[in-house]
Amino acid sequence: MSEAVDHPGSQRRAEGSRVTRQIMRIPTRYPGKWVWDLCFLICLCFLVLFLVSVVILFRNGVGVWGNTIPVNWGLAISNYIFFVGIGHAGTLISAMLLLLNEHWRNALNRFAEAMTLVAVICAGLYPILHLGRFWRFYWMAPYPNTMDLWPQFKSPLTWDFFAVLTYLIVSFLFWYIGLVPDLATMRDRAKKRGGQVFYGVLALGWRGSARHWARWNQSYRITAAIAVPLVVSVHSEISLLFAAGPIPGWTSTVFPPYFVLGAAFSGFAVVSMIAVVLRFAFRLEEIVTDRHLDLLGQLLLACGMMTAFGYVAEIFDALYAGEKQDLQTLFDRFTGENAWSYWGAVILNFLPLQLLWWKRMRIFPVTLFLIGLSVTVGMWLERYMLLVTTLYRDYLVSSYGSYAPSFWEWSLFIGMIGGVFLLPFLLFIRFFPAISAFEIKESQFEDQGERQGD
């Protein structure tokens, strides 16, 4: 990015168009098409698995799952939290770093936002799938009806409905507004009539006039300013889904920040994985540079250590309060029948993470990818642990139970990862500029300007 210092204008323009070409060649003349086709086919199979699991679920009800009466949330809700959590990283990278004027975000923001969008869609499906009477899901919305029913605004479940819906809308708007100028580039570069019309309609008549840019800047930054607080509020609210229930193990006051940081942690892990894969698959080393991997590694490490603090605070909380049931839950986590989820989370989240203290490990794509994978699995285990180790034993021995996800729960989850998360993401990479070309050019221009003092 910073190879030349003394660019005359023409050279600068040439470099700009090189960036555009590098990014736009992916959707226009897709390199390595058969790999994509293969991935797409595999994801289609997962989508079929997902649809079959949904049909089985809808025909038979939630009984096909392993949910029991003490553990009535199970995989559905832990996956829901997992998916919303991943999504938060996209918003943090895009919106917060945009407002902070961190130029390096421009190489990462577009696909991170797309990842947010698909993750929130996956997350939003889970509560509906979990409903039992899924066709009544709109009862969560306040609308005039003949039953005189109104949502219980005192309940975190109602806040949840609003939080996720708002998050979905804002994430979509932010992603789409950011995409518009690049869609116009795609329109101009499209060779066939179909492509021209497709991108042309989506570009909403963008001509790149000064007024367009001024309006665009306003709307993009306002949406960003709306999106940033949502990251904090949405996941705090999800922690209140737990904390509002008087269940031992869910009452620690560290919950809201613990959840928000955990969400960012898992999200950055997924973004690192995607960045490494995209960089490798499309030879984008010049755009997603070592510096980006370095920064992602640092973010991952920082969020990871703060999440680790949450673990410590939780244990401290239980010991300090000394409530019999809290101690029992803590003990169940360490040694109970689901202790594997606790120790799995601790080990996968925090042990490989320590490698990131060394810069060589951060900029080496393979380690970054593997650590990202380990953290993603670890954070999934954490959500499972938080739900199940708490619910399966609470105050009364008579209500002790146990929980094991059934086949259809696993198939739904795996099908969703492949069919609802990766499949749209693949389509996005294939048909849209996965990296924001115009923002990279802008930041290159500004970085050079700053260095030359003009």
């Binding site: 005039p144 009806n145 003949t146 039953m147 005189d148 029913l149 329109r187 009539r193 021209q196 019309v197 042309g200 309609v201 909403l204 008549g205």
Partner: protein
Amino acid sequence: MAQIFTASADTRLRAFFLIMLLVVLGVAAFAGGLADSTYVTMVGWFRDQPVPFSHQHHVQGLGIDCRYCHTGVETSAQAGLPATHVCMTCHSQVWTGAPLLALVRQSFASGTPLEWNRVAKVPDYVYFNHSIHVTRGVPCVECHGRIDEMPLTARAQPFQMQWCLSCHRDPAPHLRPPEQVTQMDWSDWERDPQAHKDYGALMVQAYGIEPDKLVQCNTCHR
């Protein structure tokens, strides 16, 4: 290079979005209207019955009390439809050969009950109990309307949850002395509204009716 879009493309896109918005609003308005329409609630829609039984004739014309046929109304959850025997208490004596009543006689002879089409009905997840309402003085006419003016029976009220709740929130004005519940045209209190008010307030107290509890979910959904 030729232009991709014509000059009017922008306007057409805007028009498309406007129309979509209107369609969405229109569908919402239609759905709202439909949910409250008599097409869905069946208010005033007469139902065909195997034997065209006329409440007008039997109640207004002959003055038979509701409880003569609907025997369970004071003691059980269901008011109950009369067995063919009940019909035959009179119709073994009057209109014994009427062709209209052939099915009734047939049912009596064979012992197979008549299959009436139910008119007043709440969903199966609603636990409605007739006896508690009737013994506390909620008159029949309150929910079933002027049944004595119906040649064929139709629903008089929408039986929606908001309608149930409208009374559960404030039951006092709907109460009358229990011995008057089956009177269709009882109007003693029309001349003295204050008496009605006093009676309602007193009875709510006497029966220990707590409207707060009447609107809890598990009062009706158990």
